[in-house]
Symmetry: C2
Subunit: 308 residues, 2 copies
Amino acid sequence: MKDRFVVSIDLGGTNTKIALVDSAFSIQQKISFSTKNFFSHRDILISEIVKNVTMLLQQHAMTSRHLKGVGIGVPGLVNFKKGSVYYLPNVPRWKDTPLRSILERKLQCRVFVDNDVNLMALAESRLGAAKGFKNVLCVTLGTGVGGGLILDGRLFRGSSFCAGEFGHMPISVGGKRCGCGGKGCLETYVGNKVILNQARRKLRKKGITLEALSELARKGNKAALEVYKDFAEKIGIALSGVTNLLNPEIIVVGGGLSFAGEFIFKTMKQTIQDRSMPVQAKAVSIKHARLGNDAGLIGAALLVYEQR
Amino acid sequence: MKDRFVVSIDLGGTNTKIALVDSAFSIQQKISFSTKNFFSHRDILISEIVKNVTMLLQQHAMTSRHLKGVGIGVPGLVNFKKGSVYYLPNVPRWKDTPLRSILERKLQCRVFVDNDVNLMALAESRLGAAKGFKNVLCVTLGTGVGGGLILDGRLFRGSSFCAGEFGHMPISVGGKRCGCGGKGCLETYVGNKVILNQARRKLRKKGITLEALSELARKGNKAALEVYKDFAEKIGIALSGVTNLLNPEIIVVGGGLSFAGEFIFKTMKQTIQDRSMPVQAKAVSIKHARLGNDAGLIGAALLVYEQR
Protein backbone atom coordinates (compact mmCIF):
# COMPACT_ATOMS: atom_id res chain seq x y z
CA MET A 1 0.00 0.00 0.00
CA LYS A 2 2.92 2.26 0.75
CA ASP A 3 3.44 5.10 -1.74
CA ARG A 4 0.10 4.58 -3.36
CA PHE A 5 -1.54 7.54 -1.59
CA VAL A 6 -1.00 11.22 -1.08
CA VAL A 7 -2.74 13.60 1.27
CA SER A 8 -3.60 16.84 -0.53
CA ILE A 9 -4.43 20.04 1.30
CA ASP A 10 -5.97 23.14 -0.25
CA LEU A 11 -5.72 25.98 2.25
CA GLY A 12 -8.19 28.57 0.98
CA GLY A 13 -9.18 31.98 2.26
CA THR A 14 -12.72 30.65 2.84
CA ASN A 15 -12.46 26.86 3.21
CA THR A 16 -9.63 24.43 3.78
CA LYS A 17 -10.01 21.09 2.01
CA ILE A 18 -8.11 17.92 2.79
CA ALA A 19 -8.23 14.81 0.62
CA LEU A 20 -6.81 11.34 0.31
CA VAL A 21 -5.72 10.96 -3.31
CA ASP A 22 -4.57 7.76 -5.00
CA SER A 23 -1.83 7.31 -7.60
CA ALA A 24 -4.39 7.65 -10.41
CA PHE A 25 -5.19 11.09 -8.97
CA SER A 26 -8.67 10.04 -7.90
CA ILE A 27 -9.92 11.66 -4.74
CA GLN A 28 -10.79 8.82 -2.34
CA GLN A 29 -12.21 11.02 0.38
CA LYS A 30 -12.43 14.72 1.01
CA ILE A 31 -13.14 16.72 4.15
CA SER A 32 -13.29 20.45 4.63
CA PHE A 33 -13.65 23.11 7.30
CA SER A 34 -14.11 26.86 7.36
CA THR A 35 -10.72 28.55 7.39
CA LYS A 36 -12.18 31.71 8.92
CA ASN A 37 -12.91 29.92 12.20
CA PHE A 38 -9.15 29.57 12.66
CA PHE A 39 -7.99 32.99 11.54
CA SER A 40 -7.02 34.07 15.05
CA HIS A 41 -3.64 32.38 14.90
CA ARG A 42 -1.81 30.42 12.26
CA ASP A 43 -0.73 27.74 14.76
CA ILE A 44 -4.36 27.01 15.54
CA LEU A 45 -5.11 26.67 11.83
CA ILE A 46 -2.09 24.39 11.35
CA SER A 47 -3.18 22.24 14.32
CA GLU A 48 -6.65 21.93 12.81
CA ILE A 49 -5.10 20.81 9.53
CA VAL A 50 -2.94 18.20 11.29
CA LYS A 51 -5.95 16.96 13.30
CA ASN A 52 -7.99 16.52 10.12
CA VAL A 53 -5.18 14.78 8.25
CA THR A 54 -4.72 12.32 11.12
CA MET A 55 -8.47 11.71 11.26
CA LEU A 56 -8.66 11.12 7.53
CA LEU A 57 -5.81 8.62 7.70
CA GLN A 58 -7.35 6.82 10.68
CA GLN A 59 -10.61 6.38 8.78
CA HIS A 60 -8.63 4.46 6.17
CA ALA A 61 -6.61 2.54 8.75
CA MET A 62 -3.48 4.33 7.65
CA THR A 63 -0.73 6.41 9.19
CA SER A 64 1.50 8.96 7.51
CA ARG A 65 4.04 6.18 6.96
CA HIS A 66 1.71 4.83 4.29
CA LEU A 67 1.88 8.06 2.33
CA LYS A 68 4.10 9.06 -0.56
CA GLY A 69 3.84 12.50 0.93
CA VAL A 70 1.64 15.49 1.68
CA GLY A 71 1.09 18.32 -0.80
CA ILE A 72 -0.34 21.64 0.30
CA GLY A 73 -1.41 24.66 -1.73
CA VAL A 74 -1.77 28.06 -0.07
CA PRO A 75 -3.27 31.31 -1.36
CA GLY A 76 -0.15 33.44 -1.42
CA LEU A 77 3.56 33.61 -2.07
CA VAL A 78 5.66 30.56 -1.22
CA ASN A 79 9.37 29.82 -1.21
CA PHE A 80 9.00 26.38 -2.78
CA LYS A 81 12.57 25.29 -2.06
CA LYS A 82 12.38 26.08 1.63
CA GLY A 83 8.72 25.11 1.88
CA SER A 84 7.97 28.37 3.64
CA VAL A 85 5.20 30.89 3.13
CA TYR A 86 6.34 34.46 2.37
CA TYR A 87 2.85 35.78 3.15
CA LEU A 88 -0.83 35.17 2.42
CA PRO A 89 -2.62 38.38 1.36
CA ASN A 90 -6.04 37.24 2.66
CA VAL A 91 -5.11 35.13 5.67
CA PRO A 92 -3.66 37.14 8.54
CA ARG A 93 -0.43 36.41 10.43
CA TRP A 94 1.28 33.98 8.07
CA LYS A 95 4.34 36.05 7.22
CA ASP A 96 7.49 33.87 6.89
CA THR A 97 5.91 30.66 8.14
CA PRO A 98 8.16 27.58 7.74
CA LEU A 99 5.08 25.50 6.88
CA ARG A 100 6.90 22.48 5.49
CA SER A 101 9.13 21.97 8.49
CA ILE A 102 6.22 22.47 10.90
CA LEU A 103 4.05 19.93 9.06
CA GLU A 104 6.89 17.45 8.52
CA ARG A 105 7.57 17.45 12.24
CA LYS A 106 3.92 17.02 13.15
CA LEU A 107 2.98 14.54 10.41
CA GLN A 108 6.26 12.64 10.19
CA CYS A 109 6.35 12.47 6.39
CA ARG A 110 7.52 14.46 3.38
CA VAL A 111 5.60 17.69 2.75
CA PHE A 112 5.64 19.97 -0.30
CA VAL A 113 4.22 23.49 -0.23
CA ASP A 114 3.28 25.58 -3.27
CA ASN A 115 1.06 28.43 -4.37
CA ASP A 116 -2.56 27.35 -4.97
CA VAL A 117 -2.80 28.62 -8.55
CA ASN A 118 0.53 26.95 -9.40
CA LEU A 119 -1.07 23.68 -8.30
CA MET A 120 -4.20 24.38 -10.33
CA ALA A 121 -1.99 25.07 -13.37
CA LEU A 122 -0.15 21.80 -12.78
CA ALA A 123 -3.44 19.89 -12.52
CA GLU A 124 -5.05 21.49 -15.59
CA SER A 125 -1.89 20.94 -17.65
CA ARG A 126 -1.50 17.27 -16.70
CA LEU A 127 -5.12 16.13 -16.46
CA GLY A 128 -7.42 18.99 -17.41
CA ALA A 129 -8.13 21.59 -20.07
CA ALA A 130 -4.44 22.06 -20.98
CA LYS A 131 -3.50 18.39 -21.17
CA GLY A 132 -0.90 17.89 -23.88
CA PHE A 133 0.06 21.57 -24.10
CA LYS A 134 3.54 22.77 -23.26
CA ASN A 135 3.06 26.50 -22.64
CA VAL A 136 0.10 27.35 -20.48
CA LEU A 137 -1.14 30.33 -18.52
CA CYS A 138 -3.69 29.41 -15.89
CA VAL A 139 -5.83 32.22 -14.52
CA THR A 140 -8.32 32.30 -11.66
CA LEU A 141 -10.96 34.99 -11.45
CA GLY A 142 -12.32 35.26 -7.93
CA THR A 143 -11.84 37.61 -5.02
CA GLY A 144 -8.54 38.43 -6.67
CA VAL A 145 -6.91 37.41 -9.93
CA GLY A 146 -4.40 34.56 -9.68
CA GLY A 147 -2.04 33.07 -12.22
CA GLY A 148 0.18 30.04 -12.75
CA LEU A 149 2.57 29.22 -15.59
CA ILE A 150 3.57 25.98 -17.26
CA LEU A 151 6.49 26.73 -19.60
CA ASP A 152 8.16 24.14 -21.81
CA GLY A 153 6.04 21.57 -19.98
CA ARG A 154 7.17 22.44 -16.47
CA LEU A 155 5.72 24.52 -13.66
CA PHE A 156 7.60 27.79 -13.90
CA ARG A 157 8.28 29.33 -10.50
CA GLY A 158 10.90 32.01 -11.16
CA SER A 159 13.96 32.91 -9.16
CA SER A 160 12.31 33.22 -5.75
CA PHE A 161 9.34 30.98 -6.64
CA CYS A 162 6.83 33.81 -6.97
CA ALA A 163 6.25 33.85 -10.74
CA GLY A 164 2.75 33.80 -12.17
CA GLU A 165 1.30 36.88 -10.48
CA PHE A 166 -0.85 37.74 -13.47
CA GLY A 167 -3.25 39.84 -11.38
CA HIS A 168 -0.46 42.25 -10.61
CA MET A 169 0.52 43.21 -14.11
CA PRO A 170 -0.08 46.93 -14.52
CA ILE A 171 -2.51 47.84 -17.29
CA SER A 172 -2.32 51.55 -16.58
CA VAL A 173 0.42 54.13 -16.33
CA GLY A 174 -1.32 55.77 -13.40
CA GLY A 175 -4.10 53.89 -11.69
CA LYS A 176 -5.10 53.16 -8.14
CA ARG A 177 -2.80 51.73 -5.46
CA CYS A 178 -3.08 47.95 -5.32
CA GLY A 179 -3.06 45.78 -2.21
CA CYS A 180 0.27 44.36 -3.44
CA GLY A 181 1.95 47.75 -3.16
CA GLY A 182 1.89 48.41 -6.91
CA LYS A 183 -0.22 50.80 -8.95
CA GLY A 184 -2.70 50.23 -11.76
CA CYS A 185 -2.47 46.42 -11.42
CA LEU A 186 -5.11 44.38 -13.25
CA GLU A 187 -6.56 43.46 -9.85
CA THR A 188 -7.38 47.09 -9.09
CA TYR A 189 -9.76 46.95 -12.10
CA VAL A 190 -11.34 43.53 -11.79
CA GLY A 191 -11.42 42.42 -8.16
CA ASN A 192 -14.74 41.23 -6.73
CA LYS A 193 -15.22 44.45 -4.79
CA VAL A 194 -14.52 46.67 -7.80
CA ILE A 195 -17.12 44.83 -9.86
CA LEU A 196 -19.73 45.07 -7.14
CA ASN A 197 -19.08 48.80 -6.77
CA GLN A 198 -19.52 49.27 -10.50
CA ALA A 199 -22.68 47.19 -10.46
CA ARG A 200 -24.12 49.20 -7.57
CA ARG A 201 -23.49 52.41 -9.45
CA LYS A 202 -24.67 51.28 -12.86
CA LEU A 203 -27.68 49.30 -11.68
CA ARG A 204 -28.51 51.59 -8.76
CA LYS A 205 -28.93 48.62 -6.48
CA LYS A 206 -27.04 49.02 -3.25
CA GLY A 207 -27.21 45.46 -2.00
CA ILE A 208 -26.55 43.60 -5.26
CA THR A 209 -24.52 40.39 -5.01
CA LEU A 210 -22.29 38.78 -7.64
CA GLU A 211 -24.82 35.98 -8.05
CA ALA A 212 -27.62 38.46 -8.76
CA LEU A 213 -25.37 40.36 -11.16
CA SER A 214 -24.51 37.19 -13.10
CA GLU A 215 -28.17 36.22 -13.23
CA LEU A 216 -29.08 39.65 -14.62
CA ALA A 217 -26.30 39.41 -17.21
CA ARG A 218 -27.46 35.98 -18.30
CA LYS A 219 -30.98 37.38 -18.77
CA GLY A 220 -29.53 40.09 -20.97
CA ASN A 221 -29.69 43.07 -18.59
CA LYS A 222 -27.72 45.79 -20.40
CA ALA A 223 -26.09 47.42 -17.37
CA ALA A 224 -25.04 44.04 -15.95
CA LEU A 225 -23.61 43.00 -19.30
CA GLU A 226 -21.66 46.26 -19.48
CA VAL A 227 -20.10 45.61 -16.09
CA TYR A 228 -18.95 42.15 -17.17
CA LYS A 229 -17.86 43.33 -20.60
CA ASP A 230 -15.64 45.94 -19.03
CA PHE A 231 -14.31 43.31 -16.60
CA ALA A 232 -13.52 40.86 -19.42
CA GLU A 233 -11.91 43.56 -21.54
CA LYS A 234 -9.52 44.54 -18.76
CA ILE A 235 -8.51 40.91 -18.30
CA GLY A 236 -8.16 40.56 -22.06
CA ILE A 237 -5.76 43.52 -22.14
CA ALA A 238 -3.48 41.91 -19.55
CA LEU A 239 -3.80 38.56 -21.35
CA SER A 240 -2.71 40.17 -24.62
CA GLY A 241 0.46 41.34 -22.84
CA VAL A 242 1.19 37.80 -21.65
CA THR A 243 0.35 36.47 -25.11
CA ASN A 244 2.99 38.75 -26.67
CA LEU A 245 5.55 38.10 -23.94
CA LEU A 246 5.20 34.33 -23.53
CA ASN A 247 3.47 33.14 -26.71
CA PRO A 248 1.44 30.47 -24.87
CA GLU A 249 -0.59 27.80 -26.65
CA ILE A 250 -3.46 27.93 -24.22
CA ILE A 251 -4.91 30.11 -21.49
CA VAL A 252 -7.06 28.23 -18.98
CA VAL A 253 -9.49 30.33 -16.99
CA GLY A 254 -11.19 29.20 -13.79
CA GLY A 255 -12.53 30.63 -10.56
CA GLY A 256 -16.01 31.81 -9.57
CA LEU A 257 -16.28 34.74 -11.95
CA SER A 258 -15.31 32.67 -14.98
CA PHE A 259 -18.74 31.09 -14.81
CA ALA A 260 -20.64 34.36 -15.06
CA GLY A 261 -21.37 33.60 -18.70
CA GLU A 262 -19.99 32.79 -22.13
CA PHE A 263 -19.97 36.51 -23.03
CA ILE A 264 -16.98 36.92 -20.69
CA PHE A 265 -14.96 34.42 -22.72
CA LYS A 266 -16.14 35.99 -25.95
CA THR A 267 -14.92 39.43 -24.86
CA MET A 268 -11.60 38.10 -23.53
CA LYS A 269 -10.99 36.24 -26.80
CA GLN A 270 -11.91 39.26 -28.88
CA THR A 271 -9.60 41.53 -26.86
CA ILE A 272 -6.68 39.09 -27.22
CA GLN A 273 -7.25 38.88 -30.97
CA ASP A 274 -7.56 42.69 -31.27
CA ARG A 275 -4.56 43.59 -29.17
CA SER A 276 -1.97 40.81 -29.50
CA MET A 277 0.54 40.43 -32.30
CA PRO A 278 -0.86 38.31 -35.16
CA VAL A 279 1.42 35.25 -34.83
CA GLN A 280 0.96 35.02 -31.06
CA ALA A 281 -2.79 35.70 -31.29
CA LYS A 282 -3.17 32.89 -33.83
CA ALA A 283 -1.25 30.45 -31.63
CA VAL A 284 -3.30 30.86 -28.46
CA SER A 285 -6.64 29.41 -27.44
CA ILE A 286 -8.62 30.21 -24.32
CA LYS A 287 -10.55 27.54 -22.45
CA HIS A 288 -12.55 26.98 -19.29
CA ALA A 289 -10.76 25.17 -16.48
CA ARG A 290 -11.99 21.58 -16.41
CA LEU A 291 -11.13 20.24 -12.98
CA GLY A 292 -13.33 22.67 -11.03
CA ASN A 293 -12.93 23.07 -7.30
CA ASP A 294 -10.77 19.96 -6.97
CA ALA A 295 -7.99 21.29 -9.21
CA GLY A 296 -5.97 22.46 -6.18
CA LEU A 297 -6.20 19.07 -4.47
CA ILE A 298 -5.28 17.19 -7.63
CA GLY A 299 -2.41 19.61 -8.24
CA ALA A 300 -1.11 19.06 -4.72
CA ALA A 301 -1.07 15.30 -5.37
CA LEU A 302 0.73 15.82 -8.70
CA LEU A 303 3.26 18.00 -6.91
CA VAL A 304 4.17 15.12 -4.59
CA TYR A 305 4.24 12.51 -7.38
CA GLU A 306 6.41 14.66 -9.63
CA GLN A 307 9.17 15.05 -7.03
CA ARG A 308 12.14 12.78 -7.33
CA MET B 1 40.09 22.68 -38.02
CA LYS B 2 36.62 21.37 -38.76
CA ASP B 3 33.93 22.36 -36.28
CA ARG B 4 36.12 24.93 -34.65
CA PHE B 5 34.45 27.87 -36.39
CA VAL B 6 31.02 29.35 -36.85
CA VAL B 7 29.90 32.10 -39.17
CA SER B 8 27.60 34.51 -37.35
CA ILE B 9 25.31 36.91 -39.13
CA ASP B 10 23.48 39.82 -37.55
CA LEU B 11 20.92 41.14 -40.01
CA GLY B 12 20.02 44.59 -38.71
CA GLY B 13 17.61 47.23 -39.95
CA THR B 14 20.60 49.53 -40.52
CA ASN B 15 23.71 47.33 -40.93
CA THR B 16 24.29 43.67 -41.55
CA LYS B 17 27.34 42.21 -39.81
CA ILE B 18 29.05 38.95 -40.62
CA ALA B 19 31.76 37.40 -38.48
CA LEU B 20 33.97 34.36 -38.21
CA VAL B 21 33.74 33.21 -34.59
CA ASP B 22 35.86 30.53 -32.95
CA SER B 23 34.79 27.96 -30.37
CA ALA B 24 35.88 30.27 -27.55
CA PHE B 25 33.35 32.77 -28.95
CA SER B 26 36.07 35.18 -30.00
CA ILE B 27 35.34 37.14 -33.15
CA GLN B 28 38.21 36.41 -35.56
CA GLN B 29 37.07 38.79 -38.25
CA LYS B 30 34.04 40.94 -38.85
CA ILE B 31 32.70 42.62 -41.97
CA SER B 32 29.60 44.69 -42.40
CA PHE B 33 27.52 46.44 -45.06
CA SER B 34 24.57 48.80 -45.07
CA THR B 35 21.34 46.78 -45.10
CA LYS B 36 19.42 49.70 -46.59
CA ASN B 37 21.32 49.42 -49.89
CA PHE B 38 19.63 46.04 -50.37
CA PHE B 39 16.10 46.85 -49.25
CA SER B 40 14.66 46.63 -52.76
CA HIS B 41 14.32 42.86 -52.65
CA ARG B 42 15.04 40.26 -50.03
CA ASP B 43 16.76 37.94 -52.54
CA ILE B 44 19.30 40.65 -53.32
CA LEU B 45 19.99 41.06 -49.61
CA ILE B 46 20.34 37.30 -49.17
CA SER B 47 22.75 37.13 -52.14
CA GLU B 48 24.83 39.90 -50.61
CA ILE B 49 24.98 37.97 -47.34
CA VAL B 50 26.06 34.79 -49.15
CA LYS B 51 28.69 36.71 -51.15
CA ASN B 52 30.14 38.18 -47.96
CA VAL B 53 30.17 34.85 -46.11
CA THR B 54 32.01 33.20 -49.02
CA MET B 55 34.49 36.06 -49.16
CA LEU B 56 35.11 35.88 -45.42
CA LEU B 57 35.74 32.14 -45.62
CA GLN B 58 38.07 32.53 -48.60
CA GLN B 59 40.17 35.06 -46.71
CA HIS B 60 40.75 32.34 -44.11
CA ALA B 61 41.34 29.63 -46.70
CA MET B 62 38.15 27.91 -45.62
CA THR B 63 34.94 26.66 -47.18
CA SER B 64 31.59 26.11 -45.48
CA ARG B 65 32.63 22.49 -44.95
CA HIS B 66 35.02 23.72 -42.31
CA LEU B 67 32.19 25.26 -40.30
CA LYS B 68 30.20 23.87 -37.42
CA GLY B 69 27.38 25.92 -38.88
CA VAL B 70 25.99 29.36 -39.58
CA GLY B 71 23.88 31.30 -37.08
CA ILE B 72 21.80 34.28 -38.13
CA GLY B 73 19.78 36.74 -36.09
CA VAL B 74 17.07 38.83 -37.71
CA PRO B 75 15.09 41.81 -36.38
CA GLY B 76 11.64 40.26 -36.32
CA LEU B 77 9.56 37.19 -35.69
CA VAL B 78 11.05 33.81 -36.58
CA ASN B 79 9.73 30.27 -36.62
CA PHE B 80 12.86 28.76 -35.10
CA LYS B 81 11.92 25.16 -35.85
CA LYS B 82 11.32 25.78 -39.54
CA GLY B 83 14.08 28.37 -39.76
CA SER B 84 11.68 30.74 -41.49
CA VAL B 85 10.98 34.42 -40.93
CA TYR B 86 7.35 35.33 -40.15
CA TYR B 87 8.05 39.00 -40.88
CA LEU B 88 10.51 41.80 -40.14
CA PRO B 89 8.71 44.99 -39.04
CA ASN B 90 11.46 47.31 -40.30
CA VAL B 91 12.78 45.46 -43.35
CA PRO B 92 10.30 45.31 -46.23
CA ARG B 93 9.20 42.20 -48.15
CA TRP B 94 10.39 39.44 -45.84
CA LYS B 95 7.02 37.91 -44.95
CA ASP B 96 7.22 34.09 -44.69
CA THR B 97 10.80 33.76 -45.94
CA PRO B 98 12.25 30.22 -45.58
CA LEU B 99 15.63 31.74 -44.72
CA ARG B 100 17.25 28.59 -43.38
CA SER B 101 16.52 26.44 -46.40
CA ILE B 102 17.62 29.22 -48.80
CA LEU B 103 20.91 29.70 -46.94
CA GLU B 104 21.55 25.99 -46.45
CA ARG B 105 21.18 25.44 -50.19
CA LYS B 106 23.45 28.35 -51.06
CA LEU B 107 26.07 27.81 -48.34
CA GLN B 108 25.98 24.02 -48.15
CA CYS B 109 26.07 23.81 -44.37
CA ARG B 110 23.77 23.84 -41.35
CA VAL B 111 22.04 27.16 -40.67
CA PHE B 112 20.09 28.29 -37.60
CA VAL B 113 17.84 31.35 -37.62
CA ASP B 114 16.55 33.21 -34.57
CA ASN B 115 15.29 36.58 -33.42
CA ASP B 116 18.10 39.08 -32.82
CA VAL B 117 17.15 39.91 -29.21
CA ASN B 118 16.84 36.21 -28.41
CA LEU B 119 20.47 35.86 -29.52
CA MET B 120 21.50 38.89 -27.48
CA ALA B 121 19.78 37.32 -24.45
CA LEU B 122 21.60 34.06 -25.07
CA ALA B 123 24.95 35.86 -25.33
CA GLU B 124 24.42 38.04 -22.25
CA SER B 125 23.25 35.04 -20.20
CA ARG B 126 26.18 32.81 -21.20
CA LEU B 127 29.04 35.29 -21.42
CA GLY B 128 27.79 38.75 -20.44
CA ALA B 129 25.96 40.67 -17.74
CA ALA B 130 23.64 37.77 -16.85
CA LYS B 131 26.30 35.04 -16.71
CA GLY B 132 25.38 32.53 -14.03
CA PHE B 133 21.74 33.64 -13.77
CA LYS B 134 18.90 31.30 -14.62
CA ASN B 135 15.97 33.68 -15.19
CA VAL B 136 16.78 36.67 -17.31
CA LEU B 137 14.88 39.31 -19.24
CA CYS B 138 16.99 41.03 -21.87
CA VAL B 139 15.68 44.33 -23.19
CA THR B 140 16.91 46.53 -26.03
CA LEU B 141 16.00 50.18 -26.19
CA GLY B 142 16.46 51.54 -29.69
CA THR B 143 14.17 52.39 -32.59
CA GLY B 144 11.76 49.99 -30.96
CA VAL B 145 11.79 48.02 -27.71
CA GLY B 146 12.92 44.40 -28.00
CA GLY B 147 12.97 41.56 -25.51
CA GLY B 148 14.39 38.09 -25.02
CA LEU B 149 13.87 35.59 -22.20
CA ILE B 150 16.12 33.03 -20.56
CA LEU B 151 13.96 30.91 -18.25
CA ASP B 152 15.30 28.12 -16.07
CA GLY B 153 18.59 28.57 -17.92
CA ARG B 154 17.26 28.11 -21.43
CA LEU B 155 16.23 30.47 -24.21
CA PHE B 156 12.44 30.58 -23.95
CA ARG B 157 10.76 30.84 -27.34
CA GLY B 158 7.11 29.99 -26.67
CA SER B 159 4.72 27.89 -28.68
CA SER B 160 5.31 29.50 -32.08
CA PHE B 161 8.78 30.83 -31.18
CA CYS B 162 7.67 34.45 -30.80
CA ALA B 163 7.97 34.93 -27.03
CA GLY B 164 9.85 37.87 -25.57
CA GLU B 165 7.97 40.74 -27.23
CA PHE B 166 8.38 42.98 -24.21
CA GLY B 167 7.83 46.15 -26.26
CA HIS B 168 4.30 45.03 -27.01
CA MET B 169 3.01 44.67 -23.50
CA PRO B 170 0.14 47.12 -23.06
CA ILE B 171 0.66 49.63 -20.25
CA SER B 172 -2.60 51.42 -20.91
CA VAL B 173 -6.24 50.43 -21.14
CA GLY B 174 -6.75 52.80 -24.04
CA GLY B 175 -3.70 54.22 -25.76
CA LYS B 176 -2.57 54.72 -29.32
CA ARG B 177 -2.58 52.05 -32.01
CA CYS B 178 0.79 50.33 -32.21
CA GLY B 179 2.61 49.20 -35.35
CA CYS B 180 2.08 45.61 -34.18
CA GLY B 181 -1.69 45.95 -34.42
CA GLY B 182 -2.17 46.30 -30.65
CA LYS B 183 -3.11 49.31 -28.58
CA GLY B 184 -1.32 51.09 -25.76
CA CYS B 185 1.82 48.92 -26.13
CA LEU B 186 4.95 50.08 -24.31
CA GLU B 187 6.46 50.89 -27.72
CA THR B 188 3.79 53.50 -28.43
CA TYR B 189 5.15 55.40 -25.40
CA VAL B 190 8.90 54.96 -25.73
CA GLY B 191 9.86 54.51 -29.39
CA ASN B 192 12.61 56.73 -30.80
CA LYS B 193 10.10 58.86 -32.68
CA VAL B 194 7.86 59.37 -29.67
CA ILE B 195 10.79 60.60 -27.59
CA LEU B 196 11.94 62.99 -30.31
CA ASN B 197 8.42 64.39 -30.63
CA GLN B 198 8.27 64.95 -26.89
CA ALA B 199 11.70 66.56 -26.94
CA ARG B 200 10.71 68.88 -29.79
CA ARG B 201 7.63 69.99 -27.87
CA LYS B 202 9.25 70.37 -24.46
CA LEU B 203 12.50 71.92 -25.64
CA ARG B 204 10.95 73.86 -28.53
CA LYS B 205 13.71 72.68 -30.83
CA LYS B 206 12.36 71.34 -34.08
CA GLY B 207 15.48 69.64 -35.38
CA ILE B 208 16.74 68.07 -32.14
CA THR B 209 18.43 64.67 -32.43
CA LEU B 210 18.65 61.89 -29.84
CA GLU B 211 22.36 62.58 -29.46
CA ALA B 212 21.71 66.26 -28.70
CA LEU B 213 18.93 65.31 -26.29
CA SER B 214 21.20 62.88 -24.40
CA GLU B 215 23.93 65.50 -24.25
CA LEU B 216 21.49 68.05 -22.82
CA ALA B 217 20.24 65.54 -20.26
CA ARG B 218 23.77 64.70 -19.20
CA LYS B 219 24.43 68.41 -18.68
CA GLY B 220 21.37 68.59 -16.44
CA ASN B 221 18.90 70.32 -18.78
CA LYS B 222 15.58 70.03 -16.99
CA ALA B 223 13.33 69.51 -19.99
CA ALA B 224 15.65 66.89 -21.47
CA LEU B 225 15.80 65.08 -18.14
CA GLU B 226 12.00 65.12 -17.95
CA VAL B 227 11.73 63.48 -21.36
CA TYR B 228 14.09 60.69 -20.32
CA LYS B 229 12.54 60.33 -16.90
CA ASP B 230 9.13 59.81 -18.45
CA PHE B 231 10.67 57.32 -20.91
CA ALA B 232 12.37 55.35 -18.13
CA GLU B 233 9.24 55.37 -16.00
CA LYS B 234 7.13 53.87 -18.77
CA ILE B 235 9.71 51.12 -19.29
CA GLY B 236 9.84 50.60 -15.52
CA ILE B 237 6.06 50.09 -15.43
CA ALA B 238 6.22 47.35 -18.05
CA LEU B 239 9.26 45.85 -16.28
CA SER B 240 7.32 45.72 -13.02
CA GLY B 241 4.67 43.64 -14.81
CA VAL B 242 7.31 41.19 -16.04
CA THR B 243 8.90 41.17 -12.58
CA ASN B 244 5.59 40.10 -11.02
CA LEU B 245 4.79 37.61 -13.77
CA LEU B 246 8.19 35.93 -14.23
CA ASN B 247 10.12 36.75 -11.06
CA PRO B 248 13.44 37.11 -12.91
CA GLU B 249 16.80 37.41 -11.16
CA ILE B 250 18.17 39.96 -13.56
CA ILE B 251 17.05 42.38 -16.25
CA VAL B 252 19.76 43.25 -18.76
CA VAL B 253 19.23 46.45 -20.70
CA GLY B 254 21.05 47.33 -23.91
CA GLY B 255 20.52 49.27 -27.13
CA GLY B 256 21.32 52.86 -28.07
CA LEU B 257 18.97 54.59 -25.65
CA SER B 258 20.25 52.62 -22.66
CA PHE B 259 23.40 54.74 -22.82
CA ALA B 260 21.59 58.07 -22.52
CA GLY B 261 22.65 58.26 -18.90
CA GLU B 262 22.66 56.63 -15.50
CA PHE B 263 19.47 58.54 -14.54
CA ILE B 264 17.54 56.24 -16.90
CA PHE B 265 18.65 53.19 -14.92
CA LYS B 266 17.95 54.97 -11.66
CA THR B 267 14.37 55.74 -12.70
CA MET B 268 13.74 52.24 -14.06
CA LYS B 269 15.03 50.69 -10.82
CA GLN B 270 12.95 53.05 -8.70
CA THR B 271 9.80 52.28 -10.70
CA ILE B 272 10.35 48.52 -10.40
CA GLN B 273 10.86 48.85 -6.64
CA ASP B 274 7.77 51.09 -6.30
CA ARG B 275 5.42 49.03 -8.42
CA SER B 276 6.44 45.37 -8.14
CA MET B 277 5.47 42.99 -5.37
CA PRO B 278 8.03 43.06 -2.54
CA VAL B 279 9.44 39.52 -2.91
CA GLN B 280 9.86 39.82 -6.69
CA ALA B 281 11.25 43.38 -6.41
CA LYS B 282 13.83 42.20 -3.91
CA ALA B 283 14.90 39.31 -6.15
CA VAL B 284 15.60 41.31 -9.29
CA SER B 285 18.59 43.41 -10.30
CA ILE B 286 18.91 45.55 -13.39
CA LYS B 287 22.20 45.81 -15.28
CA HIS B 288 23.70 47.26 -18.43
CA ALA B 289 24.29 44.82 -21.27
CA ARG B 290 27.98 43.97 -21.36
CA LEU B 291 28.67 42.58 -24.82
CA GLY B 292 27.74 45.74 -26.73
CA ASN B 293 27.18 45.65 -30.46
CA ASP B 294 28.71 42.19 -30.82
CA ALA B 295 26.12 40.50 -28.60
CA GLY B 296 24.06 39.43 -31.62
CA LEU B 297 27.06 37.86 -33.36
CA ILE B 298 28.20 36.05 -30.23
CA GLY B 299 24.64 34.88 -29.62
CA ALA B 300 24.42 33.52 -33.16
CA ALA B 301 27.60 31.51 -32.54
CA LEU B 302 26.23 30.22 -29.22
CA LEU B 303 23.02 29.22 -31.00
CA VAL B 304 25.01 26.97 -33.35
CA TYR B 305 27.20 25.52 -30.59
CA GLU B 306 24.25 24.77 -28.32
CA GLN B 307 22.45 22.64 -30.94
CA ARG B 308 22.86 18.92 -30.66
